[in-house]
C-alpha cells in the first residue's frame, strides 16, 4: 500500500524505520565510529559472516572526505546518511519487501518506473563482493541491492541480502527538492522548521576545509599505522584471558580496521597518496578486514556453537 507523501527528511527515515521494524528487523542505532558507508557497521560486515540468522536495519552516518563541496553542490556531501538493511539468509521475497519500503515512503510503483539494473558490488577494502542491482526510480538510482557472496575473504553461507538507501538523494527525489541544503529536515509546519542546510551547511564548510587543507597528514599517517598495529596486536593476543576464559576480541580489532580505513580516506582527500600507493593502502586495510573476519568466525556470534 502506497502511503501519503512524506513532508520531511526525518519523516522518510522514520517511515523506513517503522517499515523494517514491521518486517521483523532489529532496528539498530548507528555505529559510533567514522565510516565511509553503512556496510562498515559490524552489524553488516561481521554479521554477514557465519551461519547465524540475522535481520537488522539502521541509519548510518557516513563520511567520504573527498566528496566534500563546502555545502555548495546540490547533491554532494562529505557527511551524509545511509539506510542499511541486512537479512541473513536473504528471504525469497526480498525484492517485494524492498518495493514495500518504497511504497512506505510514498513511491507508487504504478506511477513511477522502478527498475533493477545490473550493478555488482565490490569493496576492495573489505575483501567483499556480491551480485545485485542498483535500483532505478524514473532513471535515478535510489538504492543498492546486493546478495553478499564474500566478506573479508570468506564465502557467505548462508547469503545475506543487503539494501542500501542513499537517504539524502532518495529524500530529495521524494520531496521534490533540487538542492540538498533546501530540504526540510523536520516538518516544515513545525514551530521551528529546520532545513538540511540549517543543520549541515556550516559543518560541510568546516569539514571540507579541514579534509582538504588542514588535516595534519603526518599525524593521520601515524594514526593509521597505530590503528594497523593495534588491530594486529589485538588479534595476535592469546584467545584466553587471564582468568582462562576464551574471548576472541574480533570487534575491538575491527574497530581499529574501521579507523584505519577512515584515516586512509582522509589522507586520500589531502591528496598525499599517489595512485600506486593507493592500492597498497587499500591492500593493508583489506588485510586487516580479513584478519578480523577470520577471528569473528571463530566466535559464537560468528556461528561457532558455544
Amino acid at each position: 500500500m502506497t502511503q501519503t507523501a512524506p513532508r520531511s527528511f526525518q519523516e522518510i527515515i522514520l517511515r523506513l524505520q517503522s517499515y523494517w521494524a514491521g518486517q521483523g528487523c532489529a532496528v539498530l542505532q548507528p555505529y559510533d565510529m567514522e565510516v565511509g558507508a553503512g556496510t562498515f557497521h559490524p552489524a553488516t560486515t561481521l554479521r554477514a559472516l557465519g551461519s547465524r540468522p540475522w535481520a537488522a536495519a539502521y541509519v548510518q552516518p557516513s563520511r567520504r572526505p573527498t566528496d566534500g563541496r563546502y555545502g555548495e553542490n546540490p547533491n554532494r556531501l562529505q557527511h551524509y546518511y545511509q539506510y542499511q538493511v541486512l537479512i541473513k539468509p536473504s528471504p525469497p521475497n526480498l525484492q517485494d519487501l524492498y518495493l514495500g519500503s518504497l511504497a512506505a515512503i510514498g513511491i507508487d510503483a504504478h506511477l513511477h518506473d522502478i527498475r533493477f539494473v545490473e550493478d555488482d558490488w565490490e569493496s576492495p577494502t573489505l575483501g567483499a563482493w556480491g551480485l545485485g542491482w542498483e535500483v532505478w526510480c524514473d532513471g535515478m538510482e535510489v538504492s543498492q541491492f546486493t546478495y553478499f557472496q564474500q566478506v573479508g575473504g570468506h564465502d557467505c553461507h548462508p547469503v545475506s541480502g543487503e539494501l542500501t538507501y542513499g537517504l539524502e538523494r532518495l529524500a530529495m527525489y521524494v520531496l521534490g527538492i533540487d538542492h540538498v541544503m533546501d530540504m526540510p529536515f523536520n516538518d516544515p509546519q513545525s514551530p521551528i522548521p529546520l532545513s538540511y542546510g540549517d543543520i549541515f551547511r556550516q559543518t560541510e564548510q568546516e569539514y571540507s576545509r579541514w579534509n582538504f587543507d588542514q588535516a595534519d597528514t603526518d599525524m593521520l599517517l601515524k594514526h593509521f599505522e597505530d590503528a594497523e598495529a593495534e588491530c594486529e596486536r589485538i588479534l595476535a593476543a592469546a584467545p584466553e584471558d587471564k582468568a582462562g576464559r576464551r574471548i576472541v576480541m574480533a570487534h575491538p580489532a575491527y574497530d581499529q580496521c574501521i579507523k584505519a580505513s577512515h584515516l586512509f580516506n582522509l589522507l586520500d582527500a589531502r591528496g598525499v597518496i599517489s595512485v600506486t600507493e593507493r592500492q597498497a593502502y587499500i591492500g593493508r586495510v583489506r588485510a586487516l578486514a580479513k584478519k578480523c573476519a577470520d577471528a569473528f568466525v571463530t566466535t559464537e556470534a560468528g556461528g561457532v556453537a558455544a
Binding site: 539468509p89 518506473d113 522502478i114 545490473e118 551480485l131 546478495y147 547469503v159
Partner: protein, 744 residues
C-alpha cells in the same frame, strides 16, 4: 509429437548477458535431448529481464529402443575368458546367445535398452542445464547452494500434445516445476497457468510482457522514430543501446523529452555519452542544426498519467547529470584558456602509466621524442609533431574525461582548438589513438600519423622491454591491436621506415628506465659498442638515460647481457609485427607462403617494402610464366642442392659459356645475362614488378635447357659448369624473393 516449453523465471537478469544465455539454454537443452536419443523439428529461445524461455517444436515422445550386441569368446575358450565376459556384460551364462561366428561357435551378449519417455529425458537434460549453466558470473542466495545469475524463483516445464499439457516433474533444490508463470512485476503480478507456447506467449502479452527481445527492440525503435519525427527530430542510431534497453524492459513504453536550453551548447559527443552511459537514453538530433536537442527514454510500465511523472523524473535526473557535464566542460575550457593544453597535462606526472614504465608524463616525453624522429618519414614538421605529442593526452587530466573515459581524444580536439593550437595538432588529439580496430579509419594527416606511430611504438617496445607480451587470449594492454595499428598506419600511408633501428633504440631506452636508478659508470663504453654495431647516432637521449640509470653498471658482463637482451627483445617484437602482418595480408588474400618468401629477404623491417614485394610476387605467381618459372627454379634448385650435398661443395663459381655444348645452354647463358642486367637495377629501384617480369623472361630458356640438356653428365667439367649455371639461376631468382619457401 509433443511440443516442449521451458521457462526459467528469476530476478532481473543483466541485459548484457541475455543474448548469450538464450543461445546457451537452447544449445545445452537440445544437446541433452539429442544425446539421449530424442529428435525435434525446431527450437527457439527468448528472454526478458526476468525469464529465459525455450520452445521446442515436435519433440519425439520417446527415445527409440536400442539393441546392443556384443561378441564374446568362442564357446571353446577357457573358463576364465567366459567369466570375464560375463562380468563385463553383467549377464548370466544362460542369458548369452550362442551363434556361429565364422570360426566356430561363440557367445553373444544381447542387451535391449527400452525407449524412454520424453518427460524423463527432458527432466534430466534441464536439470543438468540449470546446474551447469555457463553464466559469466553467478551467485548463491538464501541458505541454498544452487547457483544462478540471480535468485531463480520458478521453473515452468510442460510437454503439450493433442491430449493437453503435462508438467515434466522436476525438483531442483526445492524449486518444483509447474505450468505457471507470472506477468509484469507491477502491471500483472498474479500467477497463471499455460497450456503450450502459443498460449504462453499470448497470455504473457495480455499480462504486459512482450516475450521476444527482437519484438521489444522493434517496438522501441518504431515508437522512438515516430515520436522523434513528429517532433522534427531524428533518433541517433545505436544498435548496442537498443539491444541493451530491450533487455531492461518487459513492457517497453517509449517517452520523449527535450534537452534544456542551457545544455544545447555542449559538444554532441558529451550529450550522447552522458545520456547513453548514465541514463540509457537515445539521443535525438535536429537534422536542420545537427545538434542533439532531445532524448528518448524507455520505461518498463504504463501509468495512469501516461508517463508524465516518469518523464519528469528522468528529465530531472538528466538535468543534474548535464549540469555536471556543463560544469566540467566550462571548467576544462577555463583551464586550457588559462594554462594551455600543456598546463592541463601537468598533472600527468603523477599518474602512473605502468609501474615499470613510469608515469604518463614520462610516456608522453618518450612519444614526443619518437614523433619528432618519425615526422620526416611521414612528411610532417618535426616541431608540429612534437607539439601534438605533448598535448595529445592532455585531456586525460580534464574533468570531462575523468567522468567519461570514453571521450578521451574527442575532448582533446575541442580543448586544443579552444587553446588556439593549430588544427593539425587538434586533430592528432583524437586521431593518434586510431586505428582503434580492424574496421576503424587510419589517420592520414601527417602530424596525426607521426604521433599515432610514436604512441604505438612506445607502447609496444615498452611492454616488450619488460616482457609483458600477449599470450593466448590474454592481451590486457591491447598490444595486438597496437601492432596492427602500426601496420595499417605504415601501409595505409606508404611510409618507408626500416624499423629495426628504432625498435632497438626504444627497447634499450625502456630497459634503461626499468633497470633502476642506482647505477653509474661506463656509459661511454657502451655507447662506443653501440656505435661499433652501427648505432653511432643512437641519440643523446638514450645515452643520457643509460648513463644515469643502472642499465650501465661497472660490470662489463652486464653490458653483454644488456646488448643481447636488446637484440632478443627487438627481434622478437619484429617477429610479432610479422605475425600480425601475415594475419592482415591473409585477410587481404595473400598466401602465407608468398609472405614467407618475401619475409626471408633483407629489408623485411620495412613493412611497406615487404608488402610491395609480396604483392608483386603474388601477382607474378598468378601468371603462367610465373607458375612455370617457379617449377623451373625448383627443378634447378633441387638438382643443385642434391649435387652440392653429394659432392660436399657449393657450386657458386661463375659458369663459363665456353663449356656450353648445347644451343639451349648457350641461350640460357644469354638469357641470364639479360635478366641479371635488368633485375639488378629494378631491385635497386624497388620495382619488384619489373624485376619479376625480367625473371619471367627466363622461363622459356630454362624450360628449353632442361628439355635439351642432362646436367649430371659423365664429363666432369661440363657437369660442374652446368651446376654453376644452375647456381646462377638460383642466385638471380633468390635476389627477388626466397622462392624456396613457395609451395607447389
Amino acid at each position: 509429437m509433443p511440443d516442449l516449453l521451458i521457462e526459467l523465471f528469476s530476478e532481473e537478469i543483466p541485459a548484457r548477458m541475455q543474448a548469450k544465455a538464450r543461445e546457451d539454454l537452447k544449445k545445452l537443452v537440445t544437446d541433452g535431448l539429442v544425446e539421449a536419443g530424442l529428435t525435434y523439428r525446431a527450437a527457439q529461445a527468448f528472454s526478458t529481464p526476468r525469464r529465459l524461455t525455450l520452445a521446442i517444436e515436435a519433440l519425439t515422445a520417446e527415445s527409440r529402443p536400442v539393441r546392443e550386441e556384443r561378441k564374446g569368446p568362442a564357446t571353446t575358450a577357457p573358463e576364465a575368458a567366459v567369466q570375464g565376459f560375463l562380468r563385463a556384460t553383467g549377464l548370466r551364462l544362460d542369458q548369452l546367445e550362442v551363434r556361429d561366428a565364422g570360426k566356430g561357435q561363440a557367445y553373444f551378449a544381447v542387451v535391449e535398452k527400452p525407449g524412454r519417455k520424453a518427460a524423463a529425458i527432458v527432466a534430466e537434460a534441464l536439470e543438468t542445464t540449470i546446474r551447469t549453466f555457463p553464466w559469466p558470473k553467478s551467485m548463491r542466495w538464501g541458505a541454498g547452494t544452487l547457483r544462478w545469475v540471480r535468485p531463480l524463483h520458478s521453473i515452468l516445464c510442460i510437454l503439450t500434445d493433442d491430449h493437453g499439457a503435462e508438467v515434466v516433474p522436476l525438483d531442483i533444490d526445492g524449486i518444483v516445476s509447474g505450468n505457471t508463470t507470472r506477468g509484469h512485476r507491477f502491471l500483472a503480478p498474479a500467477a497463471f497457468a499455460v497450456t503450450g507456447f502459443d498460449d504462453y506467449a499470448a497470455r504473457l502479452k495480455r499480462a504486459h510482457v512482450i516475450l521476444s527481445p527482437d519484438d521489444r527492440a522493434d517496438h522501441i525503435w518504431h515508437d522512438a522514430t515516430t515520436m522523434a519525427f513528429a517532433a522534427g527530430l531524428e533518433v541517433v542510431e545505436d544498435k548496442g543501446l537498443l539491444a541493451e534497453v530491450a533487455g531492461l524492459v518487459e513492457w517497453p513504453v517509449v517517452l520523449m523529452g527535450r534537452i534544456g536550453e542551457d545544455f544545447l551548447g555542449l559538444p554532441p559527443e558529451v550529450l550522447q555519452t552522458s545520456m547513453r552511459e548514465h541514463q540509457k537514453f537515445f539521443s535525438c538530433r535536429n537534422p536542420k542544426t545537427g545538434r542533439i536537442e532531445g532524448f528518448v527514454t524507455v520505461a518498463n510500465t504504463e501509468t495512469a498519467d501516461h508517463g508524465a511523472t516518469i518523464l519528469k523524473g528522468n528529465q530531472k535526473v538528466l538535468s543534474a547529470r548535464l549540469s555536471d557535464a556543463k560544469f566540467f566542460w566550462e571548467n576544462d575550457l577555463r583551464t586550457v584558456k588559462a594554462v594551455g593544453m600543456e598546463g592541463m597535462a601537468a598533472g600527468l606526472a603523477h599518474v602512473t602509466f605502468h609501474n615499470k614504465l613510469g608515469s604518463q608524463a614520462d610516456r608522453i616525453a618518450r612519444i614526443e621524442a619518437l614523433a619528432r624522429e618519425i615526422a620526416p618519414l611521414v612528411g610532417a614538421k618535426p616541431d608540429l609533431a612534437a607539439e601534438a605529442a605533448r598535448v595529445a593526452k592532455a585531456d586525460l587530466q580534464s574533468a570531462m574525461v575523468g567522468e567519461f573515459p570514453e571521450l578521451q581524444g574527442t575532448m582533446g580536439v575541442y580543448y586544443a582548438r579552444a587553446a588556439g593550437l593549430p588544427e593539425a595538432v587538434a586533430t592528432a588529439c583524437k586521431a593518434h589513438y586510431q586505428p582503434l580496430g580492424p574496421s576503424d579509419d587510419v589517420p592520414t594527416d601527417p602530424v596525426s600519423v607521426a604521433v599515432a606511430l610514436a604512441d604505438k611504438i612506445d607502447t609496444l617496445t615498452g611492454f616488450w622491454a619488460i616482457d609483458e607480451k600477449p599470450t593466448g587470449s590474454k592481451d590486457p594492454f591491447a598490444l595486438r591491436r597496437a601492432a596492427l595499428g602500426v601496420i595499417r598506419l605504415v601501409l595505409g600511408n606508404g611510409v618507408r621506415w626500416p624499423m629495426t633501428r628504432q625498435l632497438r633504440l626504444r627497447v634499450i631506452s625502456h630497459m634503461g628506465q626499468i633497470v633502476g636508478r642506482d647505477g653509474s659508470a661506463i656509459a661511454r663504453q657502451l655507447r662506443d659498442r653501440l656505435a661499433d654495431m652501427g648505432y653511432d647516432d643512437l641519440g643523446q637521449e638514450a645515452y643520457e638515460r643509460m648513463r644515469k640509470d643502472a642499465l650501465i653498471s661497472d660490470d662489463p658482463r652486464r653490458q653483454e647481457v644488456v646488448l643481447s637482451e636488446m637484440d632478443r627483445k627487438s627481434s622478437d617484437l619484429l617477429a610479432f609485427f610479422h605475425d600480425r602482418l601475415k594475419v592482415h595480408l591473409r585477410d587481404e588474400g595473400i598466401r602465407h607462403d608468398v609472405i614467407d618468401a618475401s619475409l626471408a629477404m633483407p629489408g623485411n623491417d620495412d613493412l611497406t617494402l615487404l608488402v610491395r614485394r609480396a604483392e608483386a610476387l603474388a601477382a607474378f605467381l598468378k601468371t603462367d610464366d610465373g607458375e612455370n618459372l617457379l617449377q623451373g627454379f625448383k627443378r634447378a634448385n633441387n638438382i643443385l642442392t642434391q649435387a652440392e650435398a653429394k659432392d660436399g661443395v657449393e657450386y657458386s663459381f661463375g659458369a663459363d659459356p665456353k663449356f656450353a655444348e648445347a644451343e639451349a645452354e648457350r641461350t640460357l647463358f644469354a638469357a641470364l645475362d639479360t635478366a641479371e642486367a635488368a633485375i639488378a637495377p629494378a631491385m635497386k629501384a624497388e620495382d619488384f614488378a619489373a624485376a619479376m617480369s625480367a625473371m619471367a623472361a627466363l622461363r622459356a630458356p630454362i624450360d628449353a635447357f632442361f628439355e635439351a640438356v642432362q646436367v649430371n653428365t659423365d664429363n666432369a667439367v661440363v657437369r660442374r659448369n652446368r651446376l654453376n649455371l644452375l647456381s646462377r639461376i638460383r642466385q638471380i631468382c633468390l635476389s627477388v624473393a626466397d622462392l624456396t619457401r613457395l609451395e607447389g
